[in-house]
Amino acid sequence: MVSTSSPSFGYSPVLNHSEKRSLQKASLGSFLTPMPEAPPVRRGRRKGNSSVSASGRQVARDLGRSLAEDEDGKSENMSWSVGRRKRSEVPLVSARSSPSQLNLNNLEEFPPMGAASGWTNKSKPSRRINPTPVSAERPLSKPKMCFTSTPVSQSPAARFPSGTSLEAFTAIQEGNLTSVVGSSLQEEREMLKKERCKLLHQASSPAGLSLDPGTPTKPSCARSASLPAESHLVTCANPAKVSCKKQLECLAQLYSSCIAENLVPNIFLELFFVLQLLTSKGTSAEDGESNLEVDERSEDASRKQHFRNVHNCVYFAVQVLDYQYEIISHLEKGTLKLLAENERIASFSPALHERLRQAYESSTAKVSLLLPCSVQSVSFQPETDNRSNFPSDRAFHIFKKQRDIFYELLREWEDNHEKTGWDFERVLGNKIRAMMAHLSATCNHSHFARLFQKQLIQMCKGPIGGGTSWGDTPDQDVLNMLGSDNLSRLKRLQERFVVPQSIRGPCPPPSFTGCQQFFRDFILSAGSYQFNQHLVDSLCLKILELDGLTLIEHEHSDGEADMDEQDEKKHFTVVLLSLRLLAKFLGFLVFLPYRTMEQPTRDLLESAVVLRNRTQPVLDVLKLLRQSIRDRRAILTIPWIVEFLSLVDHIAPFLDYYRKVFCLLLQVYRLMVLSEDKEMSFLNKLLILAILGWLFQVPSVPEELFFTTDVRKERLMMDTVTSTRALDSVPLVDQQLLYTCCPYLGELRKLLASFVAGSGAKNGGFVRKITPTAAESLAPKPSVTQRKLQAELEQAFFHNQPPSLRRTVEFVAERVGSNCVKHIKATLVAELVQRAEVMLQDKVKEEDAHHDKLLEEVCTHLYEEGAQALIRGREFCRKKGPEAVRVLLPEETSAAVLNSAEDIAVELATEKACGWLSANIAALIKREVKATFNRMLKMPGLPLPSEDALELRRDCPPGCQHHAPFPSQIINEIKDVLCIAVGPRDEGEVIDYVWLECLLGRLSQTLRCRKFMCPTSEQQLAKCTVELASLLVSDHVPLRLGLKPPEKSSERLQVKNNPTYGLLKLLLCVWKEDFGTPVPVQLMFSRKNVAYAAEVKQREWDLFLFMLHGLVEHDLMGISEIESCLHSLEELPWPSDFLKDLEMLSRVFISEYHLEEPRTNPCELARQSLGTVTAQS
């Protein structure tokens, strides 16, 4: 309602911008001079007022429409331009102003202080504030009109000194655009449209860069026609030069009472206006009476004097500030500092100055920004996310993909959305819709909605998502903490805060900022009814849950009060911010189908209202609101309801239901007189007033709402039970929370700061202070179970105990119960499953078919055992419950109370656990057994028990340093050897004997150290070494003997000094001693490996025979096993000579073991006998 944009105020800061801009063209005065021709349209006085406001609101309304657009204005897209064109229908401007003239009344051309085009270099509509101009009528006091700017005032006599074009404003109430002026304005409108386009273009052109954000609010009086040169000079406001003091004092008093009695729609808007007056910059020329013709027309000459010079303005402002000291003193410290240092206040009211200084010094209300969290994922929780939560495997797996796609989209957005030319719908739209199609196919919407909502809370509950727009200088601590790495990030971050979001005026339209944009755009792009419905369900549920939380303790004992209060405050803040966020999205979704670009016509409105009055609201906010007022929890409920309602479409407020809600809110607003009292703490009230005030300014909330006289007073029921501490009465809101919820309050400070700075270029923008605050999660909500008599007794028990006792008991019961189930799963069920495994293993071998039947049989057998679960569960709860309660309750708790608490906790826990177990144990056993069984079927071969046996061997030798080579390395080296042996190999490529020996030594080490060994590597090693042995036996390994002959040559076995014996012996030892897994020595007899021997011209059967004996001696293979292997080898189609050799070999081997003679020298024997064989071939 601030008149910033109104022409009626000579000192309106808006002019400052217009002037700036005008510098590019001619002088401001040149635009102004023709204006006086504007006719004094007296008849339209009242309506004229509202037309100004209507236009202002219209701007905001357009913003509302462009909610879906990029808030940063990156994409000024079609819908926006449509909006603009529509807007031009609103006759903003003096009827007579010629096309080439600028019109100071035009909010667009001369946006108010803080509006986008003035602050930033681009004329972005989305940054425009929603100014409510000072109305034309000011019966006695101009300021009074200023706040209402609506038909409240009855006196048509009110005149503006500078009322030039004001009269031209047509009387248009919103929704009733039939202009009084009528179509006669059509031409002008067209011309103005063009003119505006030109201006907008200019504003965004490089020349516009000179517009600095710190431009002070300088009320270059409309009548001080041409002052381009001096306009930068700040007039020194002088108390001595104030005229009409008495009237001003009177006005100030009236005005202040209106503020104090909440008769204004938004008290902070009024404060903003007062500060504008305070910081207005006049020029010396104003002191002279530079009357324009307009004044002559004014009926009341005396009135025009009141605000005609800067001295009067400042005087009035200081007076009001003095009255409003209490509110002001509750502002954050930075604002107080600026006020305390304001020289005008000091010179106009030393007393106020002193009070402010003291307030500043004692203030602890430093407000800081929270660091924005970067994207973090929602963690996977088996309880809600695992397979058992899905109807089918397919649904589960599709959701697995959906989750990954969702985060992929999120990351893409995070990386790119700030890049120019990046368009959400174009880049992500199709991906999102494809994802939605998949969701629909498997009915996974509820899962996805839950993920979506959790992610939303995680990313956006901080104030950044809400676009905090101001702050302090950066803390060194923050910089230190972030480290130099992150400085550039911090800087970017800062820029983000400083540049686009900072200037939205004291009443910005609702918007989605920061990460919220992603979620909004996601919903829009998805365009999925099913998804929206599930999301609405999910949001409603969460809102109800959070809204119903018990947030405060019953009463504090002295010692811990402070700590508890701090915790409560924190908790409250988290809950409140989450609620607001959720409600905002709920509002967005609920009203989304009805969103229109334009204000509907009256006919449309009526029919729509008829149509929609029938439908039930998704969430009964009216009931919740009434409840919250009754329970004195409004401080929690109203803020989120306001967020919800801020997204109403144009029609919803006219529906019976929402009208009631708005009326009730209005009633609350009116009744909430600011003062410290028992009912509600000051800052709590301030928060409610600030957000309600903001809501009343939201474009789609009809303006007449506030001023409807027939607000049927609902009798506000208040719970007067004194035993419980009401939420409202607890000082839960601090400045941090206030400014987090209402970032636009920061505009007050900006205004003051820019005044001090004089010019924005100098003050270098507003640097933000960033203090990281750890995010905290919501405490688990205790579940209250309804029971009968026992329950009543229990309630009675708790009634006279501190609530923390109850919370503790419930918490313990919940946890112990849940742990009990887990415990049973891990112990009893696991045991049963193990037993089932054994049973199944035996039976599977017997009969291969009828797995299902088998499974059923085994399970049935186990179900009886499952009944034990209840007994064990009860035991568990009985043991753990009291332990936990005792630890958690204060030491001093009396024995009786303690015992009762313990009993209740045990009882509740048992009930929970056993209830679940008795219902689910059978299914659980079956599921687990089935899973195990499936695993068993999939893994043939190694039966599980044998693996267990292996585990026993899995110990390093004592004192092992784990320095052995890695298995993978050894495998690769052995493979190298095999590779060379098999060929093809290069000329002269050989393997060094010593090296190979050494390799086998290292192999032994590696196998002994179990640290890095795993079954697969070990099996691989076993196989490799068998291959190696086969190649060695058939003399395929091109060994090079080193200079030193192998020491083992002394052994008598090595008749030919063949070093291979040594290697084979080593291998046998390793197989026997070091392997934990069975070595597939049978592979030695595979056709392939035996064929190596066949390839050799001079066959070395000695080695083979040596190996056979070695296998027997080392217990690696039995004699009969070898025999059968040899026999089966003979079956194969070999060359005839080789077959003979084989037969011979087998005969020799068998004869050796079947002769009863002492096997002193079997190998020698073998050598001899084979010698003949070799000779024959």
Binding site: N386, D976, D986, K1088
Partner: protein, 272 residues
């Protein structure tokens, strides 16, 4: 061992021109003596796999298969001991192991008249002694043993011991996580997160391979981001190194290392 993109490209370029044999590996080692053997080996096998994937299709036409088989038969007829399959593969510039598979498939088809099952073929390729023809078995074995076959070891086990030695509070290994119903599971989840080089780590994934661009992209897509989506930031260990330029998601929460980190900061005992 971390390689720069340029270094890696040089190696990959070299590998593009050679058959994946032991001899090539030796040349590779000679050409890039500063790189660790295991890294080179890993890159080698991965490049080889890529090559195989690229060229796979054109060698699988019925005509091609028939030609190869005939050439193989002719070859072994002349000299069964010669590396027929290897040479054939080299001549037509095809991966030897796939050549072995094609010939084996064709061989079995001829024998049994029916199309042999994949499992049977795989098992024969794993253990060529099952191949019912001695000559072919040898040929196949020769191929398999000659072709650079990179054995990965078991990275999880290695990691396990590292984790046990360090102060990480281990949660549960993959199979146990699966049992709990997690849909995607890294090798390890840390019950109490730790910080590595200033980055919070919730999970560790161990890769016994070299982190080149294509494999890393695939892993990111299939695994790492999925873990991130469920458990938050984590650590990937490429035991055989990676291209250092790929380590660009640290800020967001995927940290790459080529060894087990040494400067682990835990919640309680901050060493910093």
């Amino acid at each position: 061992m971390k390689l720069s993109k340029a270094q890696y490209d040089e190696i990959a370029q070299f590998l593009g021109q050679v058959q994946p044999t032991r001899q090539s590996l030796r040349k590779l080692k000679e050409k890039f003596p500063s790189q660790s053997q295991s890294t080179l080996l890993s890159i080698f096998s991965q490049e080889y796999q890529k090559q195989v994937k690229r060229t796979h299709a054109k060698y699988h036409t019925a005509e091609a298969v028939e030609t190869y088989y005939q050439r193989y038969l002719n070859g072994v007829m002349k000299n069964a001991a010669a590396p027929v399959l290897l040479e054939l593969a080299n001549e037509v510039d095809f991966a030897p192991s796939l050549m072995a598979r094609i010939v084996l498939e064709r061989f079995l088809q001829e024998q049994g008249q029916a199309i042999p099952s994949k499992t049977l073929i795989n098992s024969m390729l794993r253990d060529p002694s099952q191949i019912p023809d001695g000559v072919l078995a040898n040929q196949v074995y020769q191929v398999l043993i000659t072709v650079v076959f990179f054995f990965c070891g078991n990275a999880v086990i290695c990691l396990n011991s590292f984790i046990n030695n360090s102060s990480c509070s281990l949660r549960i290994a993959e199979d146990q996580l699966r049992a709990k119903g997690y849909d995607k599971t890294p090798d390890f989840i840390l019950e109490v997160p730790v910080a590595v080089e200033g980055h919070i780590i919730h999970w560790i994934e161990s890769k016994a391979s070299f982190g080149d661009e294509s494999s890393h992209q695939a892993y990111l897509q299939d695994q790492f981001w999925s873990y991130w989506n469920r458990f938050g930031p984590g650590l990937v260990i490429y035991w055989y190194g990676f291209i250092e330029e790929l380590d660009c998601h640290r800020e967001r929460g995927i940290l790459l290392k080529d060894c087990f980190p040494t400067d682990i900061v835990t919640l309680r005992h901050s060493r910093a």
